[in-house]
């Protein structure tokens, strides 16, 4: 951690060499004020997706650094395509790191602790790997291990073979780099894309026949760790002055929107507004998991890394806007500003795009469906906390198991929690900081049991959840979450952390070991 502080300081003192002109590796991004296109989709064929992503790097004319997953589609190179799979499929993804190493940037982190997976070596700003966020897949090399997996620039590449469980809930997931200390840089640059597990219409027939839209909301800072102006983008399209991205819908049409919050730290408070009034949105799924029942909400809060899937109805005439409201993250949090994400224009010529036919449901059902009914075998309490030595730092970000010493994550640390396959645990997580945090655990979903000590109004299954900041008086805000480690595929070591990526990079993260 101390080294990291020095590193950040050195960066501040030495300048930002990665802002120097780079090879323009990334595809051009859409112009402001144009119609928003869905990401290019790659659908599984015969039970598998086989694809190659090449991680590239550019700096645009406004000075924003782009990191891009490039995929060679039949007619052009596209950025961060959506991966569409059925439960039981395999994602065979070859990832090549084509970032040109910048020797003026010699800072690096220690090599991963375990047996190397991939190229090994030290983690640097040019190293990469991939986290399949929300997917209930094993934390092992070539699947969803981010502790030991490193792909280095110039190497032949690394092959992921991710086995999507037959019980994987149908819904929206996403992929992004997860190299400790550097996650923020590459996600800030746009290296993130959607994964759709097919079959939502089988579980929530409300969406059958509707036009489906996939929206990935990203965030870009000029310098990601310095609070300041940022842009939110919708499928890579920025707003410029009053030129907002345009979403076309037929008058009165219902569409099924699948929205991923791929921002660094923005808590999205989403609304669709007609004449300035928020209209009901029919919630279908959160974090890839279909809700037990749909529910209407005018506002949907999606923390960083969360996903929301909902039905939107266009006005019968005129236009509407898709917005995120201002959201207070607390006295020491960064301001999340109100932003118009898109203008919704009604036109009879709006295109339709239906979901691809999904595979028949398996007999295995959907994972995690009934585990909340089982008694918890273990209770744990964890808490977020922070300490600031000044307004600009040095800052320490902690997530701590109550009773243990506060410490920031180190790649070679021992797991702070050890449990075993079959365990059902209740974790109470408090936020003792003056800043809202977003708790995320890899490999599993959890069920929200309580909020602030009271039964949760919606006991949804999530993989990321917000815990509001402490107001300086009264009890800390908290959530109580039920964790299901009953699936043998959870065996291994994986991570839980705050999904504000700066916090994660600075060590608000730890390991959990699930023994077989």
């Amino acid at each position: 951690m101390r080294g990291m502080s020095r590193w950040l300081l050195a960066m501040a003192v030495c300048g930002f060499p990665f802002l120097k002109p780079a090879a323009q590796d990334c595809p051009a991004r859409p112009n402001s004020g144009t119609v928003v296109a869905d990401p290019f989709s790659i659908s599984s064929q015969n039970g598998a997706i086989t694809a190659q992503f090449t991680l590239g790097h550019s700096v645009d004319s406004a000075g924003y650094t782009h990191y891009c997953y490039k995929y060679r589609a039949p007619t052009q190179v596209v950025e961060a395509p959506t991966l569409r799979v059925n439960p039981g499929d395999v994602i065979n993804l070859n990832v090549v790191d084509q970032i040109v190493a910048d020797n003026s940037m010699k800072m690096d982190m220690a090599p991963p602790p375990g047996p190397p997976c991939g190229d090994g070596g030290a983690a640097t700003i040019n190293s990469t790997n991939v986290h399949f966020h929300g997917m209930n897949v094993p934390p092992v090399c070539h699947q969803d291990d981010v502790i030991n997996t490193l792909i280095q620039p110039g190497s032949p590449g690394f092959q992921f073979n991710v086995h999507v469980p037959t019980t994987q809930p149908p819904g929206l997931y996403w992929y992004h780099p997860h190299v400790h200390g550097f996650t923020e840089f590459q996600v800030n640059g746009g290296a993130a894309g959607a994964i759709v597990v097919n079959g939502m219409e089988k579980v929530r027939p409300e969406v059958a026949g509707l036009t489906e839209r996939v929206f990935v909301i990203r965030q870009q800072y000029l310098v990601p760790w310095i609070p300041g102006p940022y842009q939110l983008t919708l499928n890579y399209q920025t707003s410029f002055l009053a030129q907002f991205p345009v979403i076309d819908m037929k008058p009165g049409e219902k569409q099924f929107w699948r929205v991923a919050n791929a921002t660094l730290q923005d808590f999205l408070e989403l609304q669709v507004q007609v004449n300035g009034v928020a209209v009901p949105l029919e919630m279908i799924a959160l974090d890839g998991y279909p809700l037990a029942q749909t529910r209407n909400q005018n506002t949907i809060l999606v923390p960083p890394a969360g996903r929301a899937e909902f039905i939107v109805q266009a006005p019968t005439s005129g236009s509407a806007i898709f917005v995120t409201n201002a959201y207070s993250t607390g006295p020491t949090g960064n301001a999340d500003l109100a932003t118009t994400l898109a203008t919704i224009k009604t036109t009879n010529t709006a295109a339709s795009s239906h979901m691809p036919e999904s595979a028949p449901p398996t007999a295995d059902g959907v994972k995690f469906l009934n585990f909340a009914l089982q008694p918890a075998t273990t209770q744990r309490k964890l808490y977020f906390s922070e300490e600031f030595g000044g307004t600009n730092g040095p800052i320490q970000f902690y997530i701590t198991v109550d009773g243990q010493k506060q410490k920031v994550f180190e790649p070679n640390e021992q797991p702070v929690i050890t449990t075993k396959v079959g365990a059902i645990e209740d974790w109470t997580i408090e936020n003792r900081a003056l800043e809202t945090h977003a708790f995320h655990i890899h490999q599993i979903h959890f069920r929200v049991l309580e909020v602030d000590g009271k039964p949760a109004p919606n006991t949804d299954l999530r993989d990321t959840i917000e815990i509001p900041f402490w107001e300086g008086k009264g009890p800390y805000h908290s959530v109580k979450l039920r964790m299901d480690f009953s699936d043998p595929t959870t065996a291994g070591t994986f991570l839980f952390h705050c999904h504000i990526l700066l916090h994660e990079d600075l060590g608000m993260m730890h390991k959990i070991l699930v023994t077989p």
Binding site: V13, P331, T332, E386, E387, G389, K405, K407, L434
Partner: protein
């Protein structure tokens, strides 16, 4: 007649002396609360002068522009103000971090006597420039260049730069807090290191006692020293820690070097980046930077031991107006200090007034009605001070 004349003369004499005494007394006793406004470019920064109202609350008097720019933030433990009340001159020195200037303000006229810079490499643009002084020298800690600049105090509240001393924590930390007593200068670094220097010759020379503080060692880097104060007799140095708890450390410096610190820790609040001893050294006031509270601990100046005291309720305006509590100064320069003024850093910066009530070994701190006093000139108050200063 003679009696009359004598009487008139005596009356006149008494009157003249009275006027003199009154004006002199009035000047000497003008109690100012000071703010380093730390305004960032393009706004010219300055020092805010507040008088003290009858209810004890600061009342804004005027801002003295220093002609340069601040940076609007930085380390909590750095005091960006130093006050001189030497009998021959009364000055307030303020650091302006963007340009590396140190401005001296004559308190009697509230005008700038001079501005000075250190060497061409001295810089505090990252996290500010801290100041401490005695009657002869002013020491400036530059957070970007990691140097201590030594300046000789000159008439007219001006300074002359003498030289630089490069410093660094044992884990490459940046200089943060400073305190001075006699020939000893004590420093803290952002990596948890502490160090003392001999300043008998003016320029600091390390005493060779640099060490990682006990709290930092015990917590595996999860706590580190920030602001510093030293007892009147120079026996103990006290450190306020940056921590997720209330944490204070005491080091015996009577040997002329820092001894291993003793840690006093409490869950009464969060973070303790700024501290100040009461004039009678019975109370250590602690700013709970992220706990939105102020604590008072009982201090035994003979043994250097601290014991539990009291903690205020949350100060008004957190989140709506301000984000952090920062600098601290005493309400009174006598006795137990009577409470403290605390800087509030945020979009609406201000000064909180928190009087102390004491009954035997029980105390209470409660924010005064009408507090905080808004500083109309800045959103960036980190450092505050008092004129006249505490006597040690």
């Amino acid at each position: 007649m003679k009696k009359f004349l004598e009487s008139r003369f005596l009356r006149l004499l008494v009157l003249v002396l009275g006027i003199f005494a009154t004006s002199d007394l009035a000047l000497a006793q003008t109690h100012y609360i000071l703010t380093n406004d730390d305004l960032a470019y393009p706004f010219l920064t300055g020092v805010g002068f507040f008088t003290v109202g009858t209810n004890g609350l600061p009342v804004f008097k005027q801002q003295v522009h220093t002609g340069t720019f601040g940076i609007g933030g930085g380390y909590f433990g750095m005091n960006r103000l130093a006050v001189l009340d030497s009998g021959t001159q009364q000055c307030v020195f303020a650091s302006e971090a963007l340009n590396g200037f140190i401005a001296g303000i004559d308190v009697s006229t509230l005008t700038v006597g001079g501005t000075t810079t250190g060497s061409s490499t001295d810089s505090g643009t990252a996290n500010g420039i801290g100041l401490v002084m005695n009657g002869s020298y002013l020491y400036a800690s530059f957070s970007s260049s990691n140097t201590i600049g030594t300046f000789a105090v000159q008439p007219g509240c001006s300074l002359t730069f003498i030289g630089d001393t490069s410093v660094i924590g044992l884990q490459a930390g940046i200089i943060n807090g400073m305190a001075i007593h006699g020939s000893m200068l004590v420093t803290s670094y952002t990596d948890g290191s502490i160090e003392s220097f001999n300043i008998s010759g003016g320029t600091p020379v390390s005493n060779g006692d640099e060490q990682i503080s006990t709290a930092t060692v015990n917590s595996a880097d999860a706590t580190y020293v920030n602001a510093i104060d030293i007892t009147k007799d120079g026996h103990y140095a006290i450190f306020g820690d940056t921590s997720t708890a209330l944490s204070v450390e005491v080091s015996d410096i009577s040997s002329g070097k820092l001894a291993r610190t003793t840690v006093y820790k409490s869950t009464a609040s969060i973070n303790s980046s700024n501290i100040i001893l009461s004039p009678d050294e019975t109370i250590l006031y602690v700013v709970n930077t992220q706990g939105a509270t102020v604590s008072a601990l009982f201090f035994n100046k003979s043994t250097g031991k601290l014991s539990a005291g009291c903690t205020s309720g949350p100060l008004a305006g957190l989140s709506q107006n301000w984000s952090y509590l920062a600098g601290i100064t005493l309400m009174s320069q006598t006795g137990n200090g009577g409470g403290v003024y605390v800087a509030e850093f945020g979009t609406v910066s201000g000064i909180a007034t928190v009087p102390l009530s004491l009954s035997g070994q029980k105390c209470s701190l409660q924010e005064a009605t009408g507090s905080p006093t808004i500083d109309p000139n800045t959103p960036g108050v980190l450092s505050i001070g008092s004129f006249p200063p505490r006597s040690f």
